[in-house]
Amino acid sequence: MMRTRTIEIMVGAFVAAGIAALFMLAMKASNLGTASIRDGYQVTARFDNIGGLRVQAPVSAGGVRVGRVTAITYDQEDYEARVHMTIDSRYDRFPSDTSASIYTAGLLGEQYIGLEPGGADDFLADGDAILLTQSALVLEQLIGRFLFAMTEGKDG
């Protein structure tokens, strides 16, 4: 029979190793260490078509992640998609005429919102709406437009 003290030390080491593993999963392997935006401000944007945009998708400006999409709803008044996003309050100097576009990361990657700052003097604040938007490129529509343009060219 091993001494109680040795057993207790081994159990302590085991529990510590388990907690260390959880900590590593939290900080190194999952988004708990990075992605949570503690305080930010809400803005909305309307799009004709959001393509495959999802809640939690990144919002970036100049390729830097500044926020994320928090909710996507469909507005029955004007038949447009309304995207709610939270932007990190560190980045509070976006001009009020900033435009938002939906891009795709890589050829088949996930979709994200890109912000391009405008030139106005006042800045976006909590609850504001982004007025200038550009919808997602939907592959089927692109192909349709391309085919249409080709047949037009043949006729003319």
Partner: protein
Amino acid sequence: MIDWLQGLGHRTLSFLERTGRANLFILRVFAGVPALALQLRLVVAQLYAVGVLSLLIIVVSALNVGMVLGLQMYNTLVNFGAEASIGPVVALALVRELGPVVAALLFAGRAGSALTAEIGLMKATEQLSSMEMMAVDPVRRIVAPRLLAGILSMPLLAAIFSAVGILGGYFVAVGLLGVDEGAYWGQMRAAVDWNDDVVNGIIKSIVFGLVVTWIAVFEGYDAVPTTEGVSRATTRSVVYSSLAVLALDFVLTALMFGDI
């Protein structure tokens, strides 16, 4: 024909009876768990037997599982030029499924069988009935600390399994195959969600810990008190708990990740 029907009925009834006894048994064990706060020494000793002694097999298997995952995924993903997403693939597979499931299967083989054999032998050598003679409830004294230790150590073992597996994948992908280190960790962090993936994996492992230890202690306590009975109970314990883990994993996965 009638004999065959009788046999079927007999088997069904005894199966139901055993299930019922297992449920009553777990209630009795749970009733004994609060009193353990006064006797933490019993739980610590069982944490050593169940958790610490399982650590070696868990770490070695996790390292190998992670390395194999990294190697196999690389071979497929490199065809699409997507070898950088090896990090998310390895991490998601381990955190969601392989960590809890494989750790639970190893746990059933390493710790569950030992629990069944130990309790079964105690019963066969009449240690349990002599405890009852001394007015010590064997369910509280013997079974409850073992069940609690199983429930406590399983999530820790599963977390260690996932973490070591991710490190194993890192060694192969980054060290051996030349995947970019920043891409391995960065894409992993972007893809793995704490609430959706890691916490669900932990919940899974707690459930598995309960089920595996429950089956192990029940099989031991319910064993026919002979040498042959104990050996059969040990086999049944490992077989039933492995099947239960795999079946429950499907149910839990469907509940947790079925509708995203």
